[in-house]
């Protein structure tokens, strides 16, 4: 008994080691988020501040065609990004998991290396590709497929391509990991019982890899709603996504409470997506720990 008592005491002391982290998070993450929630219910103050009385005006202002359109545009773009990442990324992840171990290590590394470089740089590459006299237009012109250069840069299309490009590893990696962990004997059993390859895939493989797909959808959807620099660099002046709205209110209009209200909407949306994900049986752990964690783990 005595030994157990000491043991318990040591473990309790050990728990206290997490105190600095909890305090830091409470101060700089918890408090700052609560602070903008509070700010979003205030009026605009002198210069870059907020002042009482408490009001819901900021939220009422959001319910206007301008902002609702931007919200809809952002959600649609994020959904399209997640969808295309799934369509392109699932087969990639599937074939990747089936490749020989040595090839797999190389393929994974090749997939991940570009994503260790700065996001702005990768987007810059698309800016070159899509420019009026850039390689894509030159190739299409010389093949005679088009008569004059297409306007590719500064369009919604360019933003979508950039988003898919930026997000695809966050789909491939969770799917890959669930395909890799899958029990192939199940697939073989269904084939032995007479299922066609397609039927075996749809009724066995797809359900078994669903956790990875779900995680991938969340991981590609959430960041896509908030990105503002991508549409800044690749999109036209009317590609105003939710992130651009926040950015503009803050730096151009310098309306802190309203920018806070816009972010609270985004925060609520993120929370909602995570909630749905958990309801569907997704483990927070597998999602949080995360596209980026996979990126590190394959290094």
């Amino acid at each position: 008994m005595a030994v157990h008592h000491i043991e318990g005491k040591a473990k309790r002391g050990r728990e206290a080691l997490a105190l600095p982290m909890a305090v830091y998070a409470a101060l700089f993450v918890g408090l700052s988020l609560l602070y903008i929630i509070g700010l979003s219910f205030l009026n605009r103050g002198e210069g870059f501040s907020a002042s009482p009385p408490v009001t819901a005006d900021n939220y009422l202002r959001i319910i206007s065609p301008l902002y609702l359109r931007s919200l809809l545009l952002s959600l649609r773009l994020a959904a399209l990004t997640a969808l295309f990442c799934l369509l392109l990324g699932y087969p990639f992840a599937y074939f990747l998991a089936k490749a020989r171990p040595k090839a797999r290590a190389w393929l994974l590394m090749l997939l991940i290396v570009p994503f260790w470089t700065n996001a702005l740089i990768r987007i810059y590459g698309w800016k070159i590709l899509f420019s009026a006299s850039g390689p894509v237009n030159s190739a299409l012109l010389s093949l005679g497929l088009i008569g004059r250069p297409l306007k590719l840069l500064y369009t919604d299309f360019a933003v979508l391509v950039g988003m898919i490009y930026a997000m695809i590893p966050f789909m491939v990696l969770p799917v890959y990991s669930s395909v890799e962990r899958m029990d192939w004997a199940m697939v073989e059993a269904s084939r032995d019982l007479g299922a066609s390859p397609l039927k075996a895939f749809l009724t066995v493989t797809v359900p078994m890899t669903l956790p990875g797909v779900l995680a991938g959808l969340v991981l590609t959807f959430i960041p896509s709603v908030g990105l503002f620099f991508l549409s800044d660099l690749l999109g036209g002046s009317n590609t105003m996504l939710w992130g651009n709205m926040v950015h503009n209110e803050l730096l151009k209009s310098r309306d802190l409470p309203f920018a806070a209200a816009l972010s609270v909407v985004l925060l609520t949306l993120t929370g909602l997506v995570i909630l749905i994900y958990r309801r569907m049986g997704g483990k927070a752990e597998s999602m949080v720990f995360l596209g980026r964690r996979f990126i590190f783990e394959t290094q």
Binding site: E7, P20, A26, F95, T117, L120, P135, L173, L233, T298
Partner: protein, 291 residues
């Protein structure tokens, strides 16, 4: 399990080509002698002039690079301490009795949930929130604000990495040390920390990369004297397509490729040593990944 068909290999190759196309463009155009300032991209001839531009004392990237390195260094240092201690404290927590004990337990659990939020929510929210908080409590925008913000999003990477590793360790190792009479502090110093060292190192590397790469959060809390590398790249790219950015990108790519290759080598070494270090089970993707 059947092996891949040629079509599957073709698909893998196709996607990889698409992934590398923009990167290749950047590398190719970094050697282009055509200035191409007005988005006029034609390859004319080989030149190294844009690389020279990088080292220009006024318009070059030296200052921004130094700022980024200093920022990442401090951020990783602080978050390594906070995150590692957090992981050691939060792994395999015992149940607590009594009102205060249970309340403390729950509070730390909530703290853990909040600590990992920065990598779950869109960056722009945290950036704005920190900017608002700092201007409210009067922390000047600049290096202190940048370090405080970067620590906030670096901690989760180190915490998660180290906690994952600790959870996969055999708890018998620590218990054996305790049974043999080591004090809790000694167990920590001679068993727990050395065993989690590879994870701490990997977590730090990841956090360092994230800090060096961060644009959104830095954008909100930086000061006039603290333009980090991504901020400088953004301001160059925003106004046009200056060719020296290509050179900068190529240099950065070179650094990343070298680091990744080194990482692979270290990882391969770690895997060979793993049995000796007493890891229970395989962890994550790396198990069996590296030949």
């Amino acid at each position: 399990m059947k092996k891949n068909s040629p079509w599957a290999s073709f698909y893998l190759a196709l996607i990889l080509v698409l992934l590398y196309l923009p990167v290749l463009m950047v590398v190719l155009f970094s050697f282009n002698s055509n200035p191409g300032r007005t988005a006029n991209f034609q390859f004319e001839g080989f030149s190294l002039q844009w690389y020279r531009d990088l080292f220009d004392p006024v318009t070059g990237y030296g200052t921004a690079l130094t700022t980024s390195l200093v920022l990442a260094g401090w951020s990783v240092l602080f978050s390594a301490v906070i995150g590692t201690l957090g992981a050691i404290g939060m792994v395999r927590r015992p149940r607590r009795r009594g009102l205060i004990g249970r309340a403390g337990h729950a509070a730390l659990g909530a703290g853990e949930q909040i600590a990992v939020l920065p990598i779950m929510i869109p960056e722009i929210i945290l950036g704005l929130a920190l900017m608002a908080l700092f201007s409210f409590i009067g922390i000047p925008f600049g290096m202190p604000a940048l370090v405080l913000s970067h620590v906030a999003f670096c901690v989760p990477y180190i915490f998660i990495t180290v906690k994952g590793r600790l959870a996969s360790l055999d708890p018998g190792l620590e218990e054996a040390a305790r049974d043999l009479g080591a004090t809790p502090l000694k167990v920590l110093a001679t068993v727990t920390l050395p065993l989690s060292f590879p994870a701490i190192l990997s977590g730090c590397l990841l956090a360092f990369a994230m800090s060096m790469d961060d644009f959104v959060i830095s954008f909100f809390v930086n000061g006039p004297q603290t333009t980090t590398l991504p901020l400088k790249v953004y301001s160059s790219v925003k106004v046009g397509v200056p060719p020296h950015v290509n050179a900068l990108c190529t240099v950065m790519l070179g650094v990343v490729f070298t680091l990744v290759a080194l990482g692979q080598l270290i990882q391969a070494g770690n895997l060979k040593r793993k049995d000796r270090l007493g890891y229970a089970g395989r962890d994550g993707l790396t198990g069996g990944l590296v030949p």
